[in-house]
Symmetry: C2
Subunit: 240 residues, 2 copies
Amino acid sequence: MPNPTAAMLVIGDEILSGRTRDANMHHLAGELTAVGVDLREVRVVSDDRPAIIAAVRALSDGHDHVFTSGGIGPTHDDITADCIAAAFERPIDVRDDARALLQAHYDASGKELNAARLRMARIPDGAMLIDNPVSVAPGFTLGNVHVMAGVPSVFQAMVASILPAMTGGAPLQSRTLPLMQGEGDVAARLTAFAEQHSDLSVGSYPFQKDGQYGTNLVLRGSDIAQLDSALLALKKVFSA
Amino acid sequence: MPNPTAAMLVIGDEILSGRTRDANMHHLAGELTAVGVDLREVRVVSDDRPAIIAAVRALSDGHDHVFTSGGIGPTHDDITADCIAAAFERPIDVRDDARALLQAHYDASGKELNAARLRMARIPDGAMLIDNPVSVAPGFTLGNVHVMAGVPSVFQAMVASILPAMTGGAPLQSRTLPLMQGEGDVAARLTAFAEQHSDLSVGSYPFQKDGQYGTNLVLRGSDIAQLDSALLALKKVFSA
């Protein structure tokens, strides 16, 4: 059987103007090659509704899978979700499951789920949410199009969330432990933990907050009970 | 008057497989932004004839300029020139002016202009050559499509060759002084030289040869006599 084929659509004026250098294409290319999916084409378009809709339709028709990167944040120029809905002629609105994820996150951090942030809960009818263990706001899969964030650490976490199911494995769930310590400070203990839990996927995603380095430790697996118990063990290791 | 628009087409399996990380998109994006040309779209396709031809036609129809990167070397999978000719329905063959450039280069370096290298002189009828001060084998412009090499130092040198004419300036000529010294060793003297010759564009392009670092020093200007005299002065500075 020939390998499944894939295309990628990178959305964002900041790439085309040269302000930001895209890192997601190279990451996705390597991940797909590793699991035997042929990345055949990449397109980069600006934050322009007709351009996004036309590219989504062309790539969705021509390939088994399409991965998009960018344009799903809280600002006015984040129009990817609405464009995907339009490309597939589906209604789109704030969806309860996505709103609940954001509500719990902002309640816990003492911030307001304002109108701008609520935009990130706009999900087309019939889409499946993609887990975001780094910053909560979900991606989604509609038809053969997987819609993900442009921030590289979030994009990478979302790719890790969906790849196993795409290649015939069970969908993965995740548990996240945020720490205000840099990756270098947690690496040795995390490596030891990963060796003791070789039946789980153990990842780390660095971030900066208020000028300090932090790391999200992410456990992934298909068994919820096992994940919850591993998260307790992880908290003990880091006394969190 | 609105800015001219541009698209880029990156050609190469090595990018899509994740083996190589593309550097040319980010470079071109920054250069075009600096001169007021709007890069609207980038596509990356594999070394596949129908895919290249379809992308060239679509991008050429939709934008004022198209820049391609990759697929113009000496090996069998370097099919860009033939695909561009096919996209515009032009004949293509080894062209005398391109062959003469390569012949002089390989004669000087004591290497044979064999059949593989001669492929790099295949130029579509009606195209204009693009100067390659780094490694001689030329790019070309056909219609509104500028065909350039994928190797980043060569791509960057070719972009520098064509941008001034695109934005209304006089076409630039170049003179090159190859040195077997690293960029760090030549930088101070080159900076001083550039300050004394502020009416010329002075560039440096590092390379490796037989395990040693080298640098091509490139002078660009529109006045040939001035260039030749500046090259003599440059040789004196570096005792070359």
